[in-house]
């Protein structure tokens, strides 16, 4: 169980391949938002979780539309600076580049994956969604999500062990 904000001790006990459940506030940001905020995101980065995602529009009576991960490696150029500033967890799909793995080790952070294309299923774990920055980006705006038991798998742990390179 991960409850942000996260400290080094929460991260160090995670091993590549572990299944985790996240409960609390996480923030969505993908290409356009990263380009806008650079290394000054519009939320407290210390101990935070960023989810590389942008949802479909919210149906009436629901909290959010479908929300699955996008390919994380597109954010590789932005991630090291954010990790240096205290970002602890990134959630996406696919593998990461060497520079991100190095920044993960250096800063005691972790990269989690969720299955791509199971976006309707994942939406069930979101209890509240608020756009907190860049509404002009539409789906790519930064959303603060309150999630409960959001399921993910540790892909790269704080020691740099990588689930994709094992398989």
């Amino acid at each position: 169980m991960l409850k942000p904000p996260l400290a080094n001790k929460d991260i160090e006990k995670l091993n590549a391949g572990d299944r985790v459940l996240i409960t609390g506030k996480i923030y969505t940001a993908r290409d356009a938002a990263h380009q806008k905020f650079g290394n000054n995101p519009p939320f407290d980065i210390k101990g935070a979780i960023i989810y590389y995602a942008s949802p479909t529009p919210t149906p009436s009576g629901k909290v959010i539309g479908s929300i699955g991960p996008t390919t994380a490696s597109r954010m590789d150029t932005f991630a090291p600076a954010l990790l240096d500033k205290g970002l602890k967890v990134m959630i996406g799909k696919g593998n990461r580049g060497q520079e991100v793995v190095a920044a993960i080790k250096k800063n005691k952070a972790v990269y989690l994956v969720v299955p791509g294309g199971v976006a309707a299923l994942l939406s069930k774990h979101v209890k509240k969604s608020t756009v907190i920055a860049y509404p002009e980006l539409g789906a790519e705006a930064v959303h603060e999500l309150e999630v409960v038991d959001f399921p993910a798998i540790v892909a790269i742990d704080s020691k740099g062990r990588n689930v994709f390179e094992k398989s």
Binding site: P59, G65, S66, K93, V113, A119
Partner: protein
């Protein structure tokens, strides 16, 4: 000459957008169920189960299967005896996409300009491929193509003397390069022959076959089966976490080509393969 109201195309495209995005087609679901039976990796099995469960939720609650509801790629077969009235073909299709993505609460994922990146706001323009065919019907196929898998696609101009093995290696390398990134298990569309432009199009058209339906050429059928086996031996597995199920199908389309050329294109498709079709007759 038969007159057809352009609005009929608009209505059909609108319905297809919602249908394709919320209702995973039976052939893909069947292939996933079959893969679940064969898969031995515990992680792989768990991911396939989640994919199937996701499809059930999406269908029941009319939610998009994936948040990336894709570029609307429209394949039209327009009977040459049809005369459209009250709009143009392109406008009718784009109007359908705009309405479908609005009413279906689908994500708008099209940047109007590739460098300025402003979102068009209604997922138009669609990519439209039109073929003029005999008759007075209009056949419409809609593929909602996600960006992640499209990004991992590749094209290569081989020499006409290149061997089958070299081509095979390129196809397998493309899948390997997609690795865990483009949402495996994949459907792999392969185009061989034609021109620089047609080879990419036939690779995409190869994706439109029902999963499990092979080429009409016997020697190609054999190659498709062999390639699927080789791709699945890569061990990438569902979500890249390892397993036997890296692809559900490898489909090959070929075309005549120039004596100097041998173009090959590989169009990667994620497991959330969203395709629907209809005929206005």
């Amino acid at each position: 000459m038969r007159e057809i109201e352009a609005k009929k195309i608009t209505d059909a495209v609108k319905t297809l957008c919602i249908e394709a995005n919320t209702n995973l087609s039976a052939d893909v679901e069947e292939a996933l169920n079959k893969a679940l039976k064969n898969e031995t990796s515990p992680n792989g099995r768990e991911i396939i189960r989640q994919i199937i469960q996701n499809a059930e939720i999406a269908r029941k609650e009319k939610l998009p299967i994936c948040q990336d509801t894709g570029t609307a790629v429209v394949f039209l077969q327009l009977g040459q005896d049809v005369r459209l009235i009250n709009s143009t073909l392109t406008e009718a299709v784009n109007e359908g996409v705009s309405l479908g993505y609005d009413k279906g609460l689908l994500r708008k994922s099209i940047a109007l300009d590739p460098l300025r990146r402003k979102n068009s706001g209604d997922n138009t323009p669609a990519v439209i491929h039109t073929e003029i065919v005999p008759g007075d019907n209009i056949r419409i196929g809609l593929l909602c193509k996600g960006g992640g898998a499209e990004n991992k696609s590749a094209i290569k101009m081989f020499k006409p003397t290149s061997s089958k093995e070299e081509i095979e290696q390129f196809i397998i390398e493309t899948v390997k390069n997609a690795g865990p990134d483009a949402c495996p298990p994949y459907i792999v569309g392969v185009g061989i022959g034609g021109n620089f432009d047609t080879v990419a199009l036939i690779a995409k058209k190869a994706l439109l076959r029902r999963v499990g339906q092979h080429s009409s050429a016997m020697d190609t059928v054999k190659w498709e089966k062999e390639l699927l086996e080789k791709v699945n031996k890569l061990g990438i597995g569902p979500m890249g976490l390892g397993g036997k199920t890296t692809a559900l199908a490898v489909n090959i389309e070929t075309r005549p080509c120039h004596i100097s050329s041998l173009p090959v294109a590989v169009n990667m498709e994620c497991h959330a393969h969203r395709y629907a079709e209809t005929t206005i007759s």
